[in-house]
Symmetry: D3
Subunit: 245 residues, 6 copies
């Protein structure tokens, strides 16, 4: 299952692209991160407000949600603006739901109290792996927003029960590979996005046979690669959060 | 990881609910199936038309797509009609895309020729596992539609490269279980939908930690259960297709 | 005005198609009926909830409304899904309003109390007369929902002031005929839908000249046929409601 | 069935309100009429264009359609603008379809040739009977548009197979009455709109029991009143069309 | 910058078209005006209601807003109905906002009290300058609505801090001209709409280079023309308001 | 006309905020600029495609259009996403139209040939003057896109007939000031946006009395400030375009 073919960017099959996490990229948001996975560039902004949606009022519990979108010029060929089309596409819906669900998996609603944090993940430039970059960056923005709420006295305990990172893996030309850029993504026979906690457990596993169905051995190899990649991303997140702020 | 707790409906942890596949439920559609997974009841209709969408014209290739929806009264509490709200929700989008993508994985577009088959999967009654019942039934309706097209001379070869079934698995009270009804689904710590081909390969794996993150061993146990369930469903599909028609 | 031409299905001009009313077709809804007028098949589900819409709160009065829709594959040629198009067509609006208005004509809001009953009429298969089948079936589902509310103590008196049935009539090849299937409906020079109470009064009369304008004698003949058909349907409803339940 | 109660405006039960038809109210449209039924005031504009909708191209047949709308301030209490709400209500849909269907009943598509005429009926002031005023005025605007097309050489034969008028009738305080203003309309037990040709045949009959179901004798009385009212309106239309132009 | 070319309608460059202001054109609205600038004809209706939008409740302040729309047949070539298209175009949005903003500039919210006045400006016939005619007429309808509210005791002081008129100016064939009809509007190199108070101050200045950019001297000339035109319109408004009522 | 009140950021009344223009901020777009007016930060991307919209095909003429939007977290308080609300607000429409119209004023369609350039102006951070920053940055992105098209041989002549810059001016505490940040913008009595060509002519003048109407002298003072500001911006644009690329 190993491949002798080298990757276009010279990486090893189990190697991430250069990852950059720039905190405090915006002045207004409670937390904001510009995250880069190679040329993929996502702006993750966490807006915190006191209060929760109507259906949750009086429960003493907080709420976390996310919205994902791509700027029209972020892709190779300009894509239509969803606000102009008047409706959100299925892919956008899917990814927004994935990000929100993933973040909520590391939130203790009680410790958050009746506060709401909205994560906006806007893709400024897309080169594959935008949803996994978004989740990885959104976690850091969320951590900053939590610190911000604590500093203003809006919450006291620790609503984060762990950290969160995500990476894509896939089988290209028969070889399992980590962190696919667009050029590999379109050629992948199988494509999987994996979201994991910082202590190595799974939050989401979404695998899709693009070309041919995959067998259990291939699935196992991809899961192994994802475990390695998420562990690397967790380390990079911790370094970013340890610096300044 | 085994559980001594028995299931509310008395099933073994690796046992499917009673499965019923009724073919030719409608008079007009090229293929139509009423599929039942216990009390979950989905009407799958395959409409075949000559020609393909504009972006595919002249390619010699066919197209298969799917739309999923729930009738308002299919759920415990009546849900709003998406046509009345004027937009399709994220969950509906997600499942429609999942069904279409899964079916396309067993289609040879060239053999299909410039024909389009639309699979409408309408949930008449929901009791958990509606998307997996829909995929399992839709495959049978698709097979009937293909036979219909062949009988009318609209196609000649075999556009189906294999069969397809889907099942849900999850961890409830610490125990991995197959084919979750609603009552188990809402209590599941982890919930996974798996789509497989008749020869035991994976098409889609979608696992989500609802309560707590899951480790690799739990993931492996769930995948094993899904392999067992999809094999059982494949057998039931074959029996249904072998009968009359 | 009599016709020697026999009908394609061998019926007399004043004869209904075979009518089937299957109660309790769903497990969740307060009342549910699968009604069949020949090959036309409509699922009527009555969902009951305590409380009324905002504009009616505190009035002590109940509310009844209806929504009609056709499944995409219910027709000869697949029709687009209104939720996908993002808006409800004029025909759907018209029929939903007709069903709701008709049912409200036999409701005593005061006796219903501040409860709301929504009738969902989803056409599973269409062969002419879907709106009249929907009204005829919806009345039975409504009656079951009222019994259900009474059994749960949510209401005490009798909110139903009478029963309700509906039938289509039309002039085909110069002959007035009862209960038109699709094949006759498209050829009708005049098409009329009539909703009547069980004691022979009119609730709605909707006649349309499709081809040529009709004179008063033709109108009178059609009204007479409708009176006969609604009386037959009333008897069939009573038999269905008298059985089991 | 006669009533000793006099009407608020002093009319006899079978008397129309003062009817005014002002032709050529606009400079641009091929035909335009300001029609007044008492205080109800509707602007009917017929726009003619060469060509037909895509689905009718090459058929040699023309097309006629209509759109009805109410200005927000036309009613007692300002109503929301449908363009602002982003969707057309069921009532608007229903009436637009009724007007279009009625007009098409007196059109010979072949004689019209591949021309399209759109009738816009905008209610400037509403005091009951807006749909019947709209149909009565739209016929005159349509006749003017047809003359205009003939004068430009766009058509040669006579596409109008007859004339068309419409009136409302209803039972108020037990008495059948003609041409209901708003004050009577809201109190009507039964409300019926009737569209007739100039030679006394029926195009549309739409009767609705608002309060109590109506029997056959009441229905017959209402139909008689409508015949009388439409005959009067036909005479007024003919006078308007005979004058100047 | 002077032009020897005479205008198609024989006016001097600084002369308004014939202006007509007809008050009380509708029976229901608190104020209503049919305003005509030459062949441009706009119906301005002011609907007054007690209470204010939710976000303003309890403030003691009133609210004034406006909605502008064109009837489909008001233009040379019929334009689509925005309610049918399901969304309001950018131009309509812009003009509605301009009218509302302009009117609010002469309103003392405190003196208005918690009342809301909505100005509906519907273009019945368009021949250039519809937005300036709308503002000029809307002011008069607003003044009538204020008087109406005062007469019913709903307000006591004077919420109007001044009067308001608007006019278009433009450069056509090198010459600055006042109050452009459609035929001049489409040929204008520069087009400016100016809203002024009755005492000669500016509320809105919106100038656009349609063909070539304009220099400061041209801008100054246009502003001078607008001052002259608005003064003339103010006089006509005062005369209209002084008469009857 | 000078004010003794100093501005919060210490600028002179006729001084711009620090302006930064970063070209080539994206990899895919034909031209892309991150423009900063103080803390206001707008990403301007110019996407070029061969061909023009349907209504312009075969004319030999090109097309330029623009879309403006704000990211949800760009403002002090998070604003709703227009794609989620399902419609574009009036303000967004207005600004998109303003940007497109302004850019088209310096385009020679014939020299552009049948190419389309779309300018996406996405506000990443908002602190007043987002529309003027967008226009100023969009011009530079447009110039880069034109160079790109020339380098690929898609066009040969010079479609740019001049350069373009825009700035806001306003009266705050009685003093006319240049380039208002949010804090001044909300307090401005009068607010004007001015778009000018590089050679000092006007393209757009949009002035609005927010608090009190303004007289001719104030208007003149604001125009003078805008002329100064646009001249400064033109110089900065030229420097940016002269560097590297």
């Amino acid at each position: 299952m190993n491949s002798t073919a080298t990757r276009a960017d010279g990486r090893a099959d189990d190697e991430l692209r250069p990852i950059t996490i720039t905190r405090h990229w915006l002045d207004h948001a409670a937390g904001s991160v510009l995250v880069e996975f190679g040329r993929t560039r996502v702006l993750c902004a966490a807006s915190a407000t006191e209060g929760v949606p109507r259906w949750r009022k009086g429960s003493g519990l907080g709420w976390v949600t996310a919205e994902y979108a791509m700027l029209p010029a972020s892709t190779n060929t300009r894509s239509d603006r969803e606000s102009v089309r008047g409706k959100i596409g299925g892919r956008t819906h899917e990814i927004s739901r994935l990000i929100g669900r993933s973040l909520r998996a590391v939130i203790d609603y009680k410790a958050l109290g009746e506060n709401t944090i909205v994560l906006d993940c806007d893709v400024l430039q897309a080169d594959g792996g935008t949803r996994t970059a978004a989740i990885t960056g959104a976690y850091v923005a969320l951590a900053d927003a939590v610190s911000h709420l604590r500093s203003t006295g809006a919450l006291h305990g620790e609503p984060l029960t762990g950290s969160l990172a995500a990476v894509s893996v896939g089988i290209i030309d028969g070889a399992p590979r980590l962190d696919l850029p667009y050029e590999e993504d379109v050629r992948a026979e199988t494509d999987m996005n994996v979201v994991m906690t910082g202590d190595g457990k799974f939050i989401e596993v979404q695998g899709t046979a693009e070309g041919a169905a995959f067998d259990r051995a291939e699935l196992d190899a991809l899961l192994g690669l994802a475990e390695k990649g998420c562990a690397d991303l967790t380390r990079i997140q911790q370094e970013a959060l340890a610096t300044g702020g």
